[in-house]
């Protein structure tokens, strides 16, 4: 089915089925879609460099407690201020308790000591490298998530970022749209909208005619979605804040079957140089952010229910933080970090990656957690085995040494 027919069909389906929430899913896939639904990848960027050692805590590593006398998360003891044990060595920060049931059900995987091999400790450079997917090369013009979807005419809503501007990761050859709010993707005045539509539909300017047509098709699709009052399913409750809003709208797009393939959201505030945690491990800056992250991911997982079979979510952050705490009960810019992956395709319930240890000689440059997994190994596995795009040389140019961790069977 080419994109135009796909859109025409969906537009007709909207008219025909009216306000039935499940309008498009039946119309699109019951009759003429023999193949299974397209897989969807959701990437979440934690900007500011999250302290991975306090997210998935190596409570079995005595050095961790030596190096962090005031900000370590206590060993699991069942109280709400201690780590939640995962495998006898690692434990979740207690603020992430909403994720534990997903881990237990085998749909959440953790990768520890993962990150970018580039030594930079600049937020600017490191985010740029992680989003371009080419550590060490500033000249790359596009982003890995854009390259992860195969080129060609598809749904105008195939690549969506829930941010005001298109992030680096989604820039490139393929159509991608930044939508801060689903309701804003339209000409605000409906009367003028139809005049513009007719101008762009009829213009002899071939270039603007093409994009103009696509635009109004996408607008119609989007309006039919945004018009429905959205109620998350299965009693899911998204937390307040931007990330919860973003994931809620991504869930809405997934369920609306508008041809979404990749989505992006980001959340900031992780640069915890000072007072990373309060008096108790469950209070303070980092715990508050983690609570929000865990609750948002759990709500998304619950809301999508069976549809999680098609969806994978992955988190990343530009680099980790120093293994030792600093003089201000915080941590400074470091190296390796932690990534989370959840979804129906994920072989979860496991902490992946080789633990490099925290002894002096095991640290990176004598101060940071060492890297044992390249972030492209994790993203690459999701791109090839989840999205089914085998052109890894295009998604991560120059990265020929990919070693998948087996996150996906």
């Amino acid at each position: 089915m080419n994109r135009r027919i796909f859109l025409k069909n969906s537009a007709m389906a909207m008219v025909g089925v009216g306000s039935t929430p499940a309008w498009l899913s039946r119309a699109l896939y019951a009759s003429d879609a023999p193949s299974p639904r397209k897989k969807i990848l959701v990437a979440i960027f934690q900007r500011g460099a999250v302290d991975g050692l306090n997210v998935v805590v190596p409570h079995g590593e005595p050095r961790y407690y030596e190096m962090r006398p005031t900000i370590a998360v206590p060993r699991p003891d069942g109280t709400p201020d201690s780590a939640i044990d995962l495998d006898g060595f690692f434990g979740l920060h207690p603020a992430l308790k909403a994720l534990k049931p997903i881990y237990d059900s085998g749909r959440l995987a953790v990768v520890q000591a993962v990150g970018s091999p580039d030594p930079t400790r600049s937020h600017f450079d490191a985010q740029d490298y992680m989003e371009s997917g080419t550590p060490g090369f500033k000249a790359t013009g596009d982003g890995w998530l854009n390259r992860a979807i195969p080129a060609g005419a598809k749904s105008p809503l195939r690549a969506v970022s829930m941010t005001p501007d298109l992030p680096r990761a989604l820039r490139g050859q393929n159509d991608a749209v930044a939508i801060n709010n689903l309701n804003e993707f339209q000409v605000r005045d409906s009367q003028e909208s139809s005049v513009f539509e007719s101008m762009y539909e009829n213009t002899s300017d071939k270039f603007l005619n093409g994009t103009g047509r696509e635009t109004f098709e996408a607008v119609k699709l989007m309006q039919s979605i945004a018009r429905q009052a959205y109620t998350p399913a299965n009693g899911a409750k998204y937390p307040g804040g931007r990330l919860g809003q973003s994931l809620r709208q991504i869930a809405q797009l997934v369920k609306s079957n508008v041809g979404l393939e990749v989505a992006f959201a980001d959340v900031g505030g992780w640069d915890t140089h000072v007072n990373e945690v309060g008096q108790k491990a469950s209070q303070g800056q980092l715990p508050n952010l983690l609570q929000n992250l865990g609750d948002a991911l759990a709500a998304f997982y619950q809301d999508l229910g069976d549809r999680m079979a098609e969806v994978s979510v992955v988190t990343m952050s530009e680099f980790g933080r120093t293994a030792r705490e600093n003089g201000n009960r915080g941590t400074d810019h470091g190296h390796a970090n932690v990534m989370l992956a959840l979804g129906g395709d994920i072989r979860g319930g496991k902490v992946y990656g080789d633990w490099p240890g925290l002894a002096e000689e095991q640290l990176y440059e004598g101060r940071d957690l060492n890297l044992t997994t390249d972030f492209r190994d994790v993203l690459g596995e999701l791109v090839t085995r989840h999205l089914g795009n085998r052109q890894l040389g295009i998604v991560f140019p120059g990265y020929t040494e990919a070693k998948y961790r087996g996150l996906i069977s």
Partner: protein, 611 residues
Amino acid sequence: MRRKLVPLGAVLLCAATLAAKKKPDADYGLFKKKLSKDEQAVHALDRLTFGPRPGDFAAVKKMGVKKWIELELHPERIKENPELENKLAPLETLRMSQAETVAAYPPPQLIRAVAMGREPLPADPLTRAAVERQLSRIKVKKNVNAGEEVVEPIVPLDELLSRDQIRALRNGNPQQKRQVLASIPSEKIDDVVIAMPPGLRNQLLPVAPAALSRKLMQVNNPQQVVLTDLVQAKLFRAIYSNRQLDEELVDFWFNHFNVNFDKGADRFLISTYEREAIRPHVLGKFRGLLEATATSPAMLFYLDNWQSVAPESQRRRNANAPRRGLNENYAREMMELHTLGVDGGYTQKDVTEVARCFTGWTIRNPQRGGEFFYNDRMHDKGEKIVLGVVIPAGGGRDDGEKVLDILANHPSTARFISKELAQRFVADNPPPQLIERMAKTFRDTHGDLREVMRTMLESKEFFSAGAYRAKVKTPLEMISSAARATGAEVDFAMPLANQVAQLGEPLYRKIEPTGYSSANAEWVSSASLLGRMNFALQLAQNRVPGTKVDDSRFLEDPQKAAKMLLATDAAPQTREAIAKALAEQKEKNPNAPAPAIVAGLLMGSPDFQRR
């Protein structure tokens, strides 16, 4: 922009290059088709300005296109618009040195740290004054629960303003907010600004008068003032300057030698960079422009050259200091983006050799707005070979100067710069013969940029059907041209700048060293087209904060309105769609503001997106 990467050892293609669609063979035949006299005037205005204003077309016709272009090539002969000078006057950071900027606009962390006693008062008298000004109005309070220290105003907001006033500031309409702000006595205004929570300050930015806006920003984030000044000045100049080609060229060359405001110390360095490294050189010799950027702290910081050190001079002070050594970033971008072009005939070996030549080109204390200096102790003294030229061992700063000579005089540079200019001013895919003629002028005049521009602007290709309306406006051009076409009065340009950013071109914040492209495909996406249409309607209906249009000047007749806004006719499809809509709306509501509707539709039309 699609670019190739030249990494260590092997040559590797960027994925974007691999995936790039093959361009269809350009139809150079259109570049032989001449334009009518009227079209020539419209075209010159479209390309050399940020959009024609009503009356410009007649003025250019009267003067003669050729004479007008010659005048634009000599901006020093054009008297600047006094209105522009009035608008730029309050933006003081535009005229400050780097060190003054750091001193007068200290980062908020510094103020907080001083308040909490973690940092002593700065020794520098200017910084100290800026910090003390704020310190006198805040006190430190222990937040017992979280064990954190927070900074609070000495006089809380509810002691300064009545409950109704605070409510109006928070939830009132713009007019109510303005009334409350105007009613605050001037001796209380600083206390009120400091007592406000940061969110409220941000909310009031668009409604506050310009001087108050600056105060609100200065307390929230002093560095934001620097960016706001830069961005506002950019729009004011695009919209109001009488030296339009000069401003187009500043935009072109800033993008050519791009630096990014968000990279660390660059926030203090970038105003000086545009003012001193770019602006004076855009119609001068290329070698001078190249030298000015190579010795600018903004560029040396942005592309990391300030940290680039010869291997043998590497001294690691302690285990926690980051490892330092040769950094090739600047060397690579200088050849790939600034001079030779990616196919300009250099190798990875040349990149390394050029990087070695520029070791020691560094900055004195960048976080304090330091200046360029050459540090001989960082310099690699060995022999280098750059593009076949031997640079003997034992050199100093001279090694870098020799590289600049080699690159500025290289035929690849002449061709690359000519092509980039032609892509911006003629068409995305300009005829090779034109590029060759421009490159010849470049070589013959040792890179005289005014002469290269003249060769291009006097060419038959420039005044041809292949160039006429062949470019899609960049977001900056779209927003500025709409303001110019409507004769808008802009007092506060940030809402316009936010529109430019939403359309994909956040000013001074392009991360990549490529700068913003002028290629059509770069600027036409679904979201940005919708953004353009919405902005057009908003502007015509006078709903852009900080900007006023005089709607009594709008015309109801679509054809006449097009002449005013586009300086030429709109396409028949556009006119018909507008006429039809107008008839329908009038039937429903005879009092509908027809001229504003027509203006909005015209500025959102396909026609207005072209130049």
